[in-house]
């Protein structure tokens, strides 16, 4: 069972023994030596949390704008839809600002944050992508492929999320611009609107893509928790602290 090697690594996550997480009770305890790495710079963490907050607001207000699900009834006149749209537009503006910081950080960040880290660019990464898929399907291996930064599957899914976010921003500003024809946003987006077949197609795209921001976090949070429980790196807190533990005696692919 448990080896007698002294534990130098991190304590298991606090929820590891919780009855709510049977996975935590049954996974092997941490063993061996660990060392601390710090791949996530301040701007990356900051933009992550700005994105989290604004996307939460955007999804909730966005669904309301599409189909107002609660209503003002009776009483003096309200400005419910007006305020909800205002919140949506402010959150959208903040998300775009965060996106610009992230874009800058694609060129100024460290090796785990730069543009090449968004894509599996080497052959070995594609091989590891397949291995990671087989690991998740529980066909091969007891652990994921050892990457300090994002593994190839993460790279693809996060980059896909960036792409969807860009689609959301373009389609969102196209709809926003409709209120003032001839204005900046209208002029920038109208050729695209006509090319795709009209504003309703843009609206439908915007709405369908919204669901990615519901589906993606479910998988994202699950896989982060799962990795934390089974591999004990403390990656969950890495998005606050900027770092996590890696095993000292293992060569990491992207080290």
């Amino acid at each position: 069972m448990t080896t007698s090697t002294p534990r130098h690594g991190p304590a298991p996550p606090p929820f590891a023994d919780s009855p709510l997480f049977p996975l935590g009770r049954h996974s092997a305890p941490p063993s061996g030596d660990y060392r601390w790495v710090s791949p996530w710079g301040g701007p990356l963490r900051f933009t992550h949390w700005v994105a989290f907050l604004t996307i939460t607001v955007l999804v909730i207000t966005g669904f309301f704008i599409n189909r107002p699900y609660f209503l003002t009834t009776g009483g003096p006149p309200q400005y419910l839809m007006g305020y909800i749209r205002l919140a949506h537009f402010i959150a959208a503006g903040l998300l775009v600002a965060a996106g610009l910081i992230r874009f800058y950080w694609l060129f100024a960040g460290n090796q785990f944050e730069r543009l090449p880290a968004l894509f599996p660019i080497r052959w070995r990464d594609w091989v590891n992508l397949w291995k990671q898929v087989k690991y998740y399907l529980m066909l091969e291996g007891d652990h994921g492929i050892y990457y300090i930064g994002h593994n190839p599957l993460q790279q693809l899914s996060y980059t896909f999320t960036y792409v969807i976010a860009i689609v959301m921003v373009i389609s969102g500003f196209a709809m926003y611009g409709q209120a003032s024809p001839g204005g900046l946003w209208y002029s920038l987006t109208q050729p695209m609107v006509l090319a795709v077949g009209g504003i309703q197609i843009v609206r439908l795209t915007h709405h369908l893509c919204t669901w990615w921001f519901i589906i993606f976090p479910i998988m994202h949070i699950y896989l982060v928790l799962r990795k934390d429980i089974t591999e004990h790196g403390g990656g969950l807190s890495g998005i606050f602290s900027g770092g996590h533990y890696i095993k000292a005696d293992i060569q990491y692919v992207d080290e």
């Binding site: 069972m1 049977p22 996975l23 049954h26 996974s27 092997a28 599409n66 189909r67 107002p68 609660f70 209503l71 003002t72 009834t73 006149p77 309200q78 400005y79 419910l80 839809m81 007006g82 909800i84 998740y136 529980m138 007891d142 409709q178 209120a179 024809p181 001839g182 109208q190 050729p191 006509l194 077949g197 009209g198 504003i199 309703q200 197609i201 609206r203 439908l204 709405h207 369908l208 919204t210 669901w211 519901i214 589906i215 479910i218 998988m219 699950y222 799962r226 089974t230």
Partner: protein, 378 residues
């Protein structure tokens, strides 16, 4: 030429002289000019300028051809708000050819068309209603033995400018909706070398036609257009941004189903599928049938008929978003999204369970291996 009146507009008579001869008072004429000035984006102060320009206009030649269409646009235009003068401008004074309205028919009508085109080569204004069917070599619309495409190309060749009236001329309208069996296209697909202005709508409001003609006569050219060829004075703002029910939209007051309390109070029709937020049209301002009413004013959601492709993209008319074509069955965007989200949650739960089972097995194996002598056979 047709609609014979007591006072036909003689060839070298100016419009001012003609109106005077027809018994239109100066006061009525200035009032009309003021209305038109406002419609084309000037202030009422510009009325004297418009009047001065219009008065001096010699009889313009307008040829109105009708291709694959339902004649609804002509019906709409006949209901111009100020029939006494608008009708003079549109229907009486200027049309040399319009097969719905003219008294002549058959060969006589075709002869009139050709005579007018020849006599006014390069000078006449061409108005087109209807789309151009291209499938089966254009056999879906044949007038006088010639296809719609041939007629349009011939008529456009000598035109100074082309005005497309209605959704058919704009992009094809209902006959161009999927699957578009006749291969219908808008006139701009055929006429590439001439300025084409589109008065979008199914049908457009009569005043947009009158006002475009007045603009043409006043300034000698076509009005400023938006990215889709529509005059900005009429199609420059969304119905949503000019709507009398906009306050209810902002307040969160919506009609849930037709005939509910909210509908009786005249609240916003957003939730019953109003396409006002995606439709550029002057309906709330110009209104219809001599300013009697307009669709939203009458309690019906806008169907977006001034937008390209509206039969495909604005449907279902009583819902916010288009349906997504699926395999044999159509699903709404939210059905698909919710199904995917539920599927994701189920997948995550299944995966977490499988992981737990997998971990238990791995530990048992490790324990068995650690005990040595005992053969691992689980």
């Amino acid at each position: 030429m047709f609609f014979p009146t007591q006072f036909p507009w003689a060839k070298d008579q100016t419009l001012g002289e003609h109106l005077e001869a027809s018994g239109v008072s100066r006061r009525d004429f200035l009032e009309f000019c003021g209305q038109m000035a406002v419609l084309i984006g000037l202030t009422e102060m510009a009325a004297p300028r418009v009047a001065a320009a219009l008065e001096g206009v010699k009889r313009p030649v307008v040829i109105w051809i009708q291709l694959q269409e339902c004649t609804g646009c002509v019906e709409s235009v006949l209901r111009s708000a100020d029939p006494s003068i608008g009708e003079l401008i549109l229907n009486i004074v200027s049309l040399d050819y319009s097969h719905t309205l003219m008294a002549a028919s058959g060969t006589a009508a075709e002869d009139a068309l050709h005579a007018s085109m020849k006599a006014n080569m390069g000078e006449y204004l061409l108005v087109v209603t209807g789309s151009v069917p291209l499938a089966e070599d254009g056999m879906y619309t044949v007038i006088g033995g010639r296809t719609a495409k041939e007629i349009l190309i011939e008529a456009a060749a000598g035109a100074k400018a082309v005005i497309g009236v209605g959704a058919c001329a704009h992009w094809g309208s209902v006959q161009a909706a999927k699957p578009n069996p006749t291969g219908a296209v808008g006139i701009a697909e055929i006429i590439k070398d001439k300025p084409v202005v589109h008065l979008a709508g199914c049908p457009p409001i009569a005043e947009t036609v009158t006002a475009t003609l007045v603009h043409y006569l006043t300034f000698g050219g076509l009005p400023e257009l938006d990215g889709d060829g529509r005059p900005r004075f009429a199609y420059g703002a969304r119905i949503h941004d000019q709507c009398s029910r906009r306050a209810n939209f902002d307040a969160g007051q919506y009609v849930e189903v037709f005939d509910d309390e909210a509908a009786r109070k005249g609240w916003c029709l957003y939730k019953v599928g109003c396409k006002g937020p995606e439709t550029f049209s002057p309906c709330p301002i110009f209104m219809w049938n001599m300013k009697t009413s307009w669709p939203i004013g009458a309690g019906h959601p806008c169907i977006g008929c001034t937008e390209r492709g509206f039969w495909d993209t604005m449907t279902p008319f009583y819902d916010r978003l288009p349906n997504v074509a699926g395999i044999g069955i159509e699903r709404t965007a939210d059905t698909i999204g919710a199904a995917l989200a539920v599927g994701t949650i189920a997948g995550v739960a299944a995966h977490a369970t499988a992981t737990t089972v997998h971990q238990i097995r791995s530990r048992k194996k490790a324990a068995a291996a650690a005990e040595g002598g005992h053969d691992g056979q689980d």
